[in-house]
């Protein structure tokens, strides 16, 4: 019982780190980016190669994935994404899904379609068990590590958003870009930075999640729907919304697959449709804003 809850939380935290960049992009520029998963995949593959070919230790790979993927994200934002902001949603969806298709085929071409594995360091393998019977809590060390990192990241993100002046500018730009620009905030720069950090986080999430989610070229398409669920159910006006939605999704998915394996992902999709019919703007949206 508790083990399922624990695994669900670890899964949910991972989904949150993967999807939080998408939530901010969507909230800030109203841009639907279906290629977000491609950044996560890039982070995963980067880690695999850095470890196998260059022998860089796992812990060093994580910040590396963040920085490199973030830089790539910033570059793409400047060159490809920016002209798309003023276009209708249909164009944005098709554009970003085109990017995702290209990423999938390119990885397939250069690396091959087989699943990649990450060699975890010794101290992250194994698991600890506490208690017994129905309340037994089995904690895989790696999942514990993921929860710790993701919790830390969440706290840092929340602090940046609520305490720093950059956070204030970002929140202002999310609430109303036009008025924010009128107040002298350079919305373009705010957005460039946010996009870079968002893709960097996706890269980091991909590096962390390669072990749990599996890493092959179809990754961006396979998990696209999960990221979108997190964002649409959680709403885009804060980061607590996506966090709660990601935890809910993680626990529901793990529990659903454990208790009613015959239903598969059915429960998750049904839940999502019902929630979106009930609250079309997402579960955790604040009044006001737009």
């Amino acid at each position: 019982m508790l083990t399922i809850l624990f695994d669900g939380i670890a899964y949910g935290m991972l989904l949150f780190v993967l999807a939080v960049g998408l939530a901010v992009t969507l909230g800030l520029m109203n841009f639907i980016n279906l290629a977000h998963g491609a950044f996560a995949m890039a982070g995963g593959y980067l880690t695999v190669f850095a470890m196998q070919k260059l022998g860089i230790p796992f812990l060093l790979c994580l910040p590396l994935a963040f920085i490199v993927v973030g830089a790539v994200g910033a570059l793409l934002e400047r060159t490809l994404y920016r002209p798309m902001y003023a276009k209708p949603h249909l164009d944005q969806v098709l554009f970003s899904i085109g990017l995702a298709f290209m990423a999938v085929a390119a990885v397939d071409f250069f690396v091959g379609s087989s699943q990649q594995n990450i060699q975890l360091p010794e101290w992250l393998r194994g698991r600890t068990e506490i208690g017994d019977g129905a309340l037994m809590l089995g904690m895989g060390h790696y999942r514990l590590f993921i929860i710790a990192i993701c919790a830390l990241l969440t706290v840092v993100l929340q602090l940046i958003l609520s305490k720093t002046s950059f956070g204030a500018r970002l929140r202002a730009a999310v609430d109303d870009p036009r008025v924010a620009a009128g107040l002298g905030i350079n919305v373009n720069v705010v957005f460039l930075l946010t996009f870079a950090v968002g893709s960097g986080l996706a890269g980091l999430g991909g590096a962390l999640g390669a072990e749990i989610l599996g890493l092959d070229p179809t990754f961006p398409l396979k998990y696209m729907i999960y990221f979108l669920i997190v964002v649409s159910v959680g709403g885009t006006s804060s980061i607590t919304g996506p966090l709660l939605a990601a935890l809910l999704l993680g626990i529901a998915d793990v529990a659903g697959k454990y208790f009613i394996p015959k239903m598969g992902a059915f429960t998750v999709y049904l839940l999502m449709i019902l929630i979106l019919m009930w609250r079309p703007q997402g579960l955790f949206t604040r009044k006001g804003g737009r």
């Binding site: 969507l26 639907i32 490809l80 002209p83 798309m84 003023a86 276009k87 209708p88 949603h89 249909l90 164009d91 944005q92 969806v93 098709l94 554009f95 899904i97 085109g98 990017l99 995702a100 298709f101 290209m102 990423a103 999938v104 085929a105 390119a106 397939d108 071409f109 398409l221 729907i225 979108l228 669920i229 964002v231 649409s232 015959k262 239903m263 598969g264 992902a265 059915f266 999709y269 049904l270 999502m272 449709i273 979106l276 019919m277 079309p280 703007q281």
Partner: protein, 325 residues
């Protein structure tokens, strides 16, 4: 005096080239028998694309899950032929009616929320059906597909032949019938209100158009026609498998429609032809990396602007006028 009326009516009038196109389509299986199977496939996909155009191009509902109705129609037609009776016409009607019913139920989900919400619920509906078809393996055959479907002759006379000529004519005939219906529909006052809803929902509401009921009705009609396209596929191939419901099919469909042009019924046909021919050619060159090329085409198409694709003189010379979001 009646000038404004005649200009409006002129838009809906049949052009000479339209007759030529349809005659050519029906002559194709006779002139080029080796490609009859491809003609059949294109006719089905074009019909499917036109049904999406009703909601995407004319009403402005972004859907990434239109394959839900296509797949449902395919499974209904296949199961009907297997379990009840093998007559294709009756099966087609049954598939249309049931897909329409499913569309009416599903239309509840698309009435509220933003584009993202609609994207998610349409996608979710298709995934839900895919998951159902996968798990109900005693009925649908699960991942192996539904096998052992034998079709009777069309209208009791024309047996399906191996070269797919009867199949092609059957699909073309159904497509023409439904095309006539859709053409009438989008040029009617009802169709005009749909465009009003697409262009500005608030104003449409203000001048008294019942927006919600218009959305439900057109979603139902589009679902029924998509179901017809699915039924045609299942009947002409005698097979239904999980890929009729897959996400790729919905995504490919949107791509086709956008290549051909939205808000124009022939856009579905043009898009289907371009897409299938491209797929056929590129797949023979690099079978595995078709996905890369379609991705590249999409990205370039969107960066240039889809309304400027066929007007090369507007490609350069400033950013141009962005489409109103």
């Amino acid at each position: 005096m009646m000038d404004f009326q005649s200009t409006l009516l002129a838009k809906a009038r049949w052009r000479p080239w339209e007759f030529v196109v349809w005659l050519a389509a029906f002559a194709l299986p006779l002139l080029w028998p080796s490609r009859a199977l491809m003609v059949n496939e294109i006719a089905i996909v074009a019909l499917f694309a036109m049904s999406l155009d009703l909601i995407l191009g004319y009403t402005g509902i972004v859907s990434l899950g239109h394959a839900a109705f296509f797949g449902f129609g395919a499974y209904v037609a296949a199961l009907f032929a297997k379990l009840v009776m093998p007559d294709p016409t009756v099966g087609l009607v049954v598939a249309i009616v049931l897909s329409g019913l499913l569309g009416a139920v599903a239309s509840v989900t698309i009435l509220r929320g933003t584009d993202l919400t609609r994207l998610m619920v349409t996608l979710g509906t298709a995934l839900l059906l895919l998951e159902l078809a996968n798990k109900l393996d005693w009925l649908t055959g699960g991942a192996d597909g539904l096998q052992g479907v034998t079709m009777g002759p069309v209208l009791g006379f024309f047996d399906f032949d191996l070269y797919g000529r009867v199949a092609a004519w059957y699909s073309l005939a159904v497509m023409l019938l439904l095309f006539l219906f859709m053409r009438r529909l989008v040029h009617s006052p009802f169709g005009a209100t749909l465009k009003a809803v697409r262009d500005n929902r608030l104003r449409a509401m203000a001048i008294g158009i019942p927006v919600m009921s218009r959305l439900s009705v057109i979603y139902t009609v589009a679902a029924a026609i998509a179901g017809a396209a699915g039924a045609l596929l299942a009947q002409t191939t005698g097979f239904a498998s999980l890929d009729v419901l897959a996400f790729d099919r919905s995504a490919d469909l949107v791509v086709m429609l956008v290549i051909g042009g939205v808000g124009w019924l022939y856009g579905g046909i043009v898009g289907a032809i371009i897409f299938k021919v491209l797929q056929d050619t590129l797949s023979t060159v690099t079978p595995q990396y078709w996905m890369f090329w379609i991705g590249l085409i999409l990205v370039l198409l969107m960066l240039i602007g889809r309304d400027r694709l066929f007007k090369p003189w507007t490609w350069f010379g400033g950013a141009g006028k962005a489409v109103k979001p």
